[in-house]
């Protein structure tokens, strides 16, 4: 250890910033969005994640689904899938939660400028993507085109329902949905998310693809994009793992020699393709 290091005024990396729960939005039977007001402005870059603590219960990583341009209000979209997420779902407005972060490497929006952006999302994976879409909307004059392809199990599992009509009303944006199992009245696509990719009109050479969703969709989505002609370094993946400390120390999210919490969660396929079991 170098003795020149005399840092004693450092921020405690394990301490939270408090945030009060303002509103709970029911997005689907399993997915809710918590609208939080942090006690001090909280800025993040799209795709970076935060650790959300329910006092005395537990902490879990989430990528905000709100606009990175907004710092006094943060939206976290959560799927009920385990102990802590179930507790998050039961919260009432007024509850005080804890935030740590933002952590990790998000979407390199600056590299997307001048390009056509193809986004493939599935299930709750639309949460980080919505934040990315806000960020892209902010710089849309510098983009060629943005196409969103989103898949969910059933029409009632589709989240952010008003988002699609809004995107389709915007210049340069197109948004498509598909479901595995349709319900009466569904007049959009049927099938897994990758079926939408076939319908897209995109100049792959001047494009990047972004994928975020459940592991099985990430895998087959990536394979489909490669088949379409995307190169490994044109595909951006959100490799959400068990990011526990968020600061590259606890080891729970290690993927090869990467700490997903510090080096990711957004990786190009090129960066991680050699690592075994990345889709697990």
């Amino acid at each position: 250890m170098t003795e020149t290091a005399t840092r004693t005024d450092t921020i405690n990396i394990y301490k939270v910033v408090k945030a009060s729960l303002e509103e709970v939005i029911e997005e689907s039977p399993l997915i809710r969005t918590l609208v939080l007001r942090p006690e001090r402005p909280f800025t993040f870059r799209t795709g970076e994640f935060i650790e959300l603590t329910l006092d005395g219960i537990g902490e879990a990583p989430f990528t905000p689904s709100s606009s990175p341009q907004v710092s006094d209000r943060l939206e976290i979209t959560i799927m009920k899938t385990g102990y802590v997420t179930e507790k998050f779902h039961s919260l009432k407005p007024g509850t005080v939660l804890g935030l740590r972060g933002p952590f990790g490497r998000g979407y390199p929006v600056e590299k997307f400028l001048g390009k056509e952006i193809l986004i493939l999302g599935g299930g709750c994976g639309l949460a980080p993507i919505r934040s990315l879409l806000y960020a892209l909307e902010h710089v849309s004059e510098h983009l060629k085109k943005v196409i969103l392809c989103y898949g969910s199990k059933t029409p009632s599992d589709c989240i952010y329902k008003p988002l699609f009509a809004r995107l389709n009303s915007l210049d340069k944006f197109e948004a498509y949905r598909t479901v595995d199992k349709p319900e009466p009245g569904w007049d959009e696509s049927v099938g897994v998310a990758t079926v939408l990719l076939e319908k897209t009109d995109i100049n792959i050479k001047n494009s990047v693809a972004v994928v975020c969703g459940p592991p099985v969709m990430m895998k087959f989505g990536t394979l489909k994009l490669l088949e379409m002609g995307y190169s490994d370094d044109q595909i951006y993946l959100s490799m959400e793992k068990n990011m526990s400390c968020g600061v590259g120390k606890c080891g729970h999210c290690m993927m090869g020699d990467y700490f997903v919490c510090k080096d990711g969660p957004v990786f190009t396929y090129d960066e991680i393709k050699e690592i075994p079991d990345i889709w697990k």
Partner: protein, 332 residues
């Protein structure tokens, strides 16, 4: 820095006893055949065991306790002095420093513990059967990384200062007693003991590949060895708990947004499991392999330092009798 002081065995014994009034002093003491760090007082300073192979506990426990509240750390009243840390453990601190004193996410609690500790390592003249530091180019004596290194012959202890903190300690606590005298170099009696220990280790580890060759073997081993060896593993995590470089932990939430950091290991089931059920290390064999990849491939690649310093504790601690060295030799 780089000064060598000589102090008589009797004076040193008395001195270490007196230190306990102003410091928490820890040093290896043998109890029921086990050598481990014990709190030192004037009463037991004569029981300290010097220059024998590693204490049962790795040095990391002083900086990364098994359980620690990291949001409200306990106020330490006294600074620590650790006497008798072996060089394998001192070498292991390099990796811990790189992880915990990372520029972007600086762990102030770890830093404070490091700064508030005077680390006095000591040469290993007697080695344990599982010791294999030399295989990874680590000598059984420290010349850097510690604050002071302690060598002994039949009459004297030799204190080699390896940091400014070590110099300060000597100036503030030893110089005034007029018990230590500088010498220009370590005597041949110490060098002989060092050489003898090194030779013993080299002979014992002659069939063990170095860290680079080990990394290649581990990387290239597909499936077989991990699943075969792990069939005996019971996922108890002892190998990680006693490893001087294993630092993974679990964050536990307590009311008032307090967080408790508790030592964890990739050898436990569900270490990487996420709420959705995915678990890259679900299989025992994949967890077993993960530890070897982490030690010999990933951590060295990432941090440019050793993640196994050859202390051999994991071999002694394994209740299933799995020998890491046997495994590595078999991977040839």
């Amino acid at each position: 820095m780089n000064e060598i002081y000589r102090i008589s065995l009797e004076d040193w014994k008395h001195f270490t006893g007196t230190l306990s009034s102003s410091f928490n002093v820890y040093a290896p003491v043998e109890k029921n055949g086990f050598l481990d760090y014990t709190r030192i007082s004037p009463e037991n300073s004569g029981d300290i065991v010097y220059n024998r192979a590693r204490p049962a506990s790795p040095l990391k426990i002083f900086f990364l306790p098994v359980k620690l509240n990291v949001t409200v750390p306990p106020a330490e009243k006294k600074n620590n002095i650790i006497i008798g840390a072996p060089s394998c453990d001192v070498e292991g601190l390099k990796l811990l420093d790189l992880i915990y004193l990372d520029e972007k996410f600086f762990d102030g609690i770890y830093f404070e513990r490091r700064m508030n500790t005077v680390l006095i390592s000591s040469d290993c003249y007697e080695t344990a059967d599982s010791c294999h530091c030399v295989a990874y180019d680590v000598n059984p004596y420290s010349e850097k990384g510690c604050d002071i290194n302690l060598s002994a012959d039949n009459e004297y202890f030799y204190l080699h200062t390896c940091s400014e903190k070590g110099d300060r300690f000597i100036n503030e606590h030893i110089a005034e007693h007029n018990i230590a005298h500088t010498v220009t170099s370590l005597p041949s009696s110490v060098l002989k003991r060092r050489n003898s220990a090194t030779r013993t280790l080299i002979n014992r580890t002659s069939k063990l590949p170095g860290n680079k060759e080990t990394a290649d073997r581990v990387k290239n081993e597909g499936h077989n060895a991990w699943y075969r060896y792990s069939s005996r593993c019971v996922s108890c995590g002892a190998c990680s708990a006693i490893c001087p470089t294993c630092t993974c932990f679990l964050l536990i939430d307590r009311p008032e947004f307090e967080k408790i950091k508790q030592l964890d290991t990739c050898q436990y089931p569900s270490f990487q499991r996420v709420a959705g059920g995915e678990d890259p290390l679900k299989e025992l064999g994949s967890r077993f392999r993960n530890r070897y990849m982490c030690k010999f491939v990933w951590k060295p690649e990432r941090f440019g330092t050793l993640a196994c310093t050859g202390c051999g504790r994991c071999i002694d601690a394994c209740i299933a009798g799995i020998s890491k060295n046997e495994l590595i030799m078999e991977l040839a």
